[in-house]
Amino acid sequence: MYKYDHYDQAMVDARVADFRDQTRRRIAGQMTDDQFKPLRLKNGLYLQLHAYMLRIAIPYGTLDSRQLRKLAHIARTYDRGYGHFTTRQNLQFHWIKLEQAPDILAELAEVEMHCIQTSGESIRNISADHYAGAAADEIMDPRPWAEMLRQMTSFHPEFSYLPRKFKICVIAAEEDRAAMRWHDFGLRIVKNEAGEVGFEVYPGGGMGRTPFIAYKSADFVPQHQIFSYLQAVLRVWNRHARRDNIHKQRMKILVHELGEEEFTRQVEEAFEHILRLGTDFPQAEYDRIAAYFEPPAFETGLRDEIDRSDPDFAVWLDQNVAAHKAPGYAIANISLKPIRGIGGDITAEQMEVVADLAERYSFDELRVAHTQNLVLPHVRKQDLYAVWQALRGAGLADANLDLVTDIIACPGLDYCSLANARSIPVAQKIAERFADPARQHDLGELKIKISGCINACGHHHAGHIGILGVDRKGTENYQLLLGGSGDEHTTQAKITGPGFDEDGIVDAVERAVEHYRTIRESGERFIDTYRRVGMDGFKEAIYG
């Protein structure tokens, strides 16, 4: 895992001092909230319905036990004893006092963490495959590149007042576990025929009110030119984006208006120019960073057999554990989606349990997935039972990874000032409806995603089943969508028809799911069946 040197530490410490000063000026009345807003947004501090919310960056979703314990401490000391993992691998606290925010940043800086560029019109925290460094199918660990780009895009002078936010995602496997093509700038690490490393580049994705799936603008950008290419993309967008309407300033809109071909042409022209400036980082710096991501010292000669005699454990094993690249090891997923809980929420005590497990059983590493679950990336198979028992003791052993109750839901009307409708209670009602483990397992992989308004924080465009809260004549109303996905065959979900009230939407989901069960062919997941038969049959089943 990456460790700060004195340069990185000095930059994060400077930001703490910067923010302390800005907050002091605000509290002393030397700044209006209007002037303070863009500054606090550069530090992930939002004003919400009830309090301030602080978003903490977890670069490429990687954490160690010391950091997670610090987050637990912050949850207890400055919040209400819990935190919330987000769909971009970050952590949010929802009950923050402005005057304490600088102290929180100082505490974070002690463990090499920060809130830099986690909100506002900036280059956001860079996300990556949460199985990076452990996945059996990756061609290399994408995180050294993500770290490289994190540094190069921190306090970038030309791109600190962008038209809108800008989200980057890096993966290095054929399978896309990170919804890469739903980002403004998606990268897939590939090797060419000569065995050289480079990037497939996918600009122009994004959700929100006008969703677009990123297109491929380059098949192979050589590895040490990727920062130039990124700057070219940013410069074209920064110069030519609309500035008159906040809803039309994301890069996806410019790509759409210019057309992919013209956008690519302009990027290539800028790329050729920027390449000549020599701003890319050298191999030596890549090597320095990559050394931190060397695989841990995996033991050899471990047994692959696992004792499955405890049936509850066996269920968890089959559902939540994934293949690891090292023999004798496995990837253990920790579900943060208990049936009656709030997806992504975790208490300080649970954070400490997970931190202990990471330290003891997973080379002191853990990951945050965009599905708002946690991952112990490197667990010996022979330790899985002990890990599961500890998780069960902490209420963290739900065996529902990727199943119908593993729902992504945005904060919605319970917290969010922009919401049309509540999301969390809908997620809870659906989860209760499908709570029976046998039923969940029979239905198999099924990704439900719920947003409380068109901003799409809950990824409803990418849900196998998506739910969107709309405001209909002052009452909460929900639209149902089908067929979205954030995997390597990324698709955008389509609206089925007229909306439903809160109970109606749960029934409608159940009708769609039952229709799938009736017509599925053997081995088909919900999304496979939908892709085979299309919308019509589902529509009939839903609306009768």
Binding site: Y7, P38, P157, E158, S160, F281
Partner: protein, 159 residues
């Protein structure tokens, strides 16, 4: 770029005008980009946020002042404008005008701006803090700051 270490405002006119250069400021008012092309003797030009700075590149040898306007501080197009001009080899003055807040000046300096005539005067004490706060930079820009990655590899300094 002519540098002076002294970031105190200097009075070119009545209005606030912060300048980081030692040469004599241009005394003719900047004209719009279109007028500039019609006036072969013009040496001061004003670039509005939507203008294309690349049009100016073939004519840079006669330019001594480029004003870049920021209609709203949120509108960051001017940052790219300044970089494009510096990357084309322009060494004359680049002045930021309009809604230039103190917290932007540090980034503007890095993009090649060397004078500031914002709508609202900047508090010198706050400016000094803002300009000296960050001890290092992570990337190359139009200034001569050495990026952290290069500091980490002194062995690469001479090629």
């Amino acid at each position: 770029m002519a540098e002076s270490g002294n970031p105190l405002p200097q009075a070119a006119s009545e209005a606030y005008y912060l300048r980081f250069r030692d040469d004599v400021p241009a005394d003719e008012p900047a004209v719009s980009l279109d007028s500039f092309f019609e006036q072969p003797n013009a040496v001061s030009v004003r670039i509005e946020a939507g203008d294309d700075p690349e049009r100016l590149i073939p004519h840079l040898s006669r330019v001594t002042l480029v004003e870049v306007d920021f209609p709203k501080f949120r509108d960051g197009r001017g940052f790219s404008t300044a970089r494009i001009l510096r990357e084309a080899g322009y060494t004359g003055e680049i002045k930021a005008t309009g809604d230039v807040l103190v917290d932007l000046v540090y980034f503007m300096r890095r993009c090649g701006f060397d004078s500031f005539a914002p709508d609202v005067a900047i508090d010198p004490a706050v400016l000094e803090d803002a300009l000296s706060r960050y001890p290092y930079v992570y990337q190359h820009a139009a200034d001569d700051a050495v990026p952290i990655w290069q500091l980490r590899h002194p062995e690469l300094a001479n090629g």
